[in-house]
């Protein structure tokens, strides 16, 4: 079998070690390939819990503000955690999801209050009282024609961005 000189039986010399038996080699090779395959499969499966497209409701919606809405009075579109303000002929929108732990803020004398841990926000969304770490995010607003506006909850714009509609 082996091409080189026969070692004395049962006594492999250090210079001429016994080759690894073929069966052992095949066994080890097969086992490590199986382990490798399992490892890669597990890596792939680890991606399972994070869907490529998040199953959340559409973030864009249209709303028509009442003609008579005075400047600076909050308007809450039905079924959305958003507040819209008019400022002359311009409008802007903010999220009403508290930046602390996600409760929905309510209008109050000073602006907005969060019922969960008492954060307070000014009418422009800046934090007046903790524990909220950040102000309420301003949301993108565009004219959708016919007096309606299109609000995108998924797009945050710098505070102070007002849109003429």
């Amino acid at each position: 079998m082996s091409t080189h000189s026969e070692p004395s039986p049962g006594k492999p010399s250090r210079l001429d070690p016994e080759a690894m038996p073929r069966r052992d080699f095949l066994g080890i090779a097969a086992a490590s390939m199986a382990a490798g395959a399992c490892g890669f499969a597990a890596l792939g499966a680890a991606k399972l819990p994070k869907a490529a497209v998040l199953p959340s409701a559409a973030k864009k919606f249209k709303v028509t503000l009442p003609e008579s809405l005075p400047s600076g009075t909050p308007f809450f579109p039905e079924g959305r955690s958003v507040v819209v303000f008019k400022d002359g002929d311009r409008v802007f929108a903010m999220s009403t999801v508290c930046t602390h732990l996600g409760c929905i803020v309510k209008p109050a004398a000073m602006g907005f209050d969060c019922p969960c841990h008492g954060s307070q926000f000014a009418p422009d969304g800046t934090v007046l009282r903790g524990p909220a770490p950040k102000g309420l995010p301003w949301l993108s607003v565009r004219s959708a024609g016919g007096g309606a506006i299109l609000i995108d909850e998924g797009t945050v714009v710098p505070p102070g961005t007002k849109e003429t509609v």
């Binding site: 998040l54 199953p55 959340s56 841990h117 009282r129 903790g130 770490p133």
Partner: protein, 520 residues
Amino acid sequence: MNTPGHGQEERTGLGTFADNLRKVPRRFIESMFRTGRPDSDRSRNDFVFSNFFLHVQSVRTHRWSLRWSTTWGLGMVALSSFLIATVTGILLMFYYKPYPEAAYQSIKDIHFVVPTGRFLRNIHRWSANVMVFSVLIHMARVFYTASYRKPREFNWATGMFLLVVTLGLSFTGYLLPWDQLAYWAITIGANIAQSPREVTDPIGLTPHFDPGGLQKLLLLGSDEVGAEALIRFYLLHVMILPIALCGLLGIHFWRIRKDGGLAKPEDADRRLGGPDPEAVPAWTAAPRKTWSLAAVVRGRTPAVGAGAENTVPSMPHLFYAEAAVFMLTFLVCVLLSIVSDAPLKELANPNVPENPAKAPWYFLGLQELVAHSAFAGGVLIPGIIIVGLGLIPYLDREKKGTGEWFGGPGGGKLVAWSAVFGLGTVLALEAIAIRFGWLRQWFPGTPQLLITAINPGTVLTLIYGLYSVYIVRRFNSMRAGALGLFTCFLMGFLVLTVIGTWFRGPNWDFYWSPSQWPGH
């Protein structure tokens, strides 16, 4: 008919049939015990040896382990309440539907329509609470009796995982009714998972590295609490976590046995004052199997070199005690279920938060801290506590006081003083925060990052930490430091939980009593 057995009178085939039929119940019961009924010491041992469920435990139990004050049966209470919750939970699954709205309706059905449904639901809810409570005080008893020491360190570590899984079970179950309480508690919980953003946001790291966002996403399967979150929580609650818990419990119990039973003082035998005069000497019971196999385990057990005189057969002494604890736990769960119904509020409404939105009671201490900083109170401090607890048996390598209540340098006196110190500190800090507010009220415009670092929670943790450093140096003992620190944190947990539960109302404002809450 042809060949009647020895000494048996001749019988008709029909007669034998009737006779055998009559004896079926007794023979069936006999056949369950491979070694006959347990009515002598020897057959009792065989009873344990040859029974799959009982052999996890040793055939003989040391009398020290059987004293009530050794364990107060707390581990058994935890196990019992888990079993009760498992059985009632499986029954609830017949009617529960894990889909928003449908979930709420099905719980309503269980509560109002299904026969015995409300009772089962109550028992499930109560046994879950009993489980969390008993696991917490079981941990405290193991700590205060210094029973975590070598060779039991790993079982303490296993216990830490058991604690986390137990809390996880309870938390995931909280969402399932899909009512206002559930929805908002889980919204808050999921946002706590996201709160590392409190740190990554101000330093501009979030777009590149966002562990908080990832955690929330994995938990909810979406960016809000919805159908995906419900099915995930359901799966965790009824499959993944129970299976994990069973596996961990297997290790936990196996290790108790292999670590030589429960921890006891070195001189336990002397303290017990010799064997019970009525006890049968263990070495002369003419066993078929020698005691050396059963009663003397490997070198580390206190039984080595000594006979098994201070041990008693586990059947009946230990098993009857365990059965008694189980029945007591069951009784308590049933009584609580009769007097108090599990809550069910209105259907979850993502647009109107529950006010106040309270988590389950054992998280209200954290919620009290979270009201200053989500990250510090919800992630940082719990993380420090879990890691700190896990390290205890690896840092305390001392011998003195094992198996004794408040054993170790300082002892009960140190614990009492630490309790006073811990209580005083947490009450003082809370009083300041409630009466005078915190940094943002004093210096408007304080950045959140500073508040994340300096808030009542982190200050409290720091003071407790410094206190225990002082104790370690004063007594020159890790055990003394651990006694001080554990006691302080226990007091902190207690006070914060009480405040969060009874003294916080709408807007998380402080009220002396719920009757003062403004109507909402």
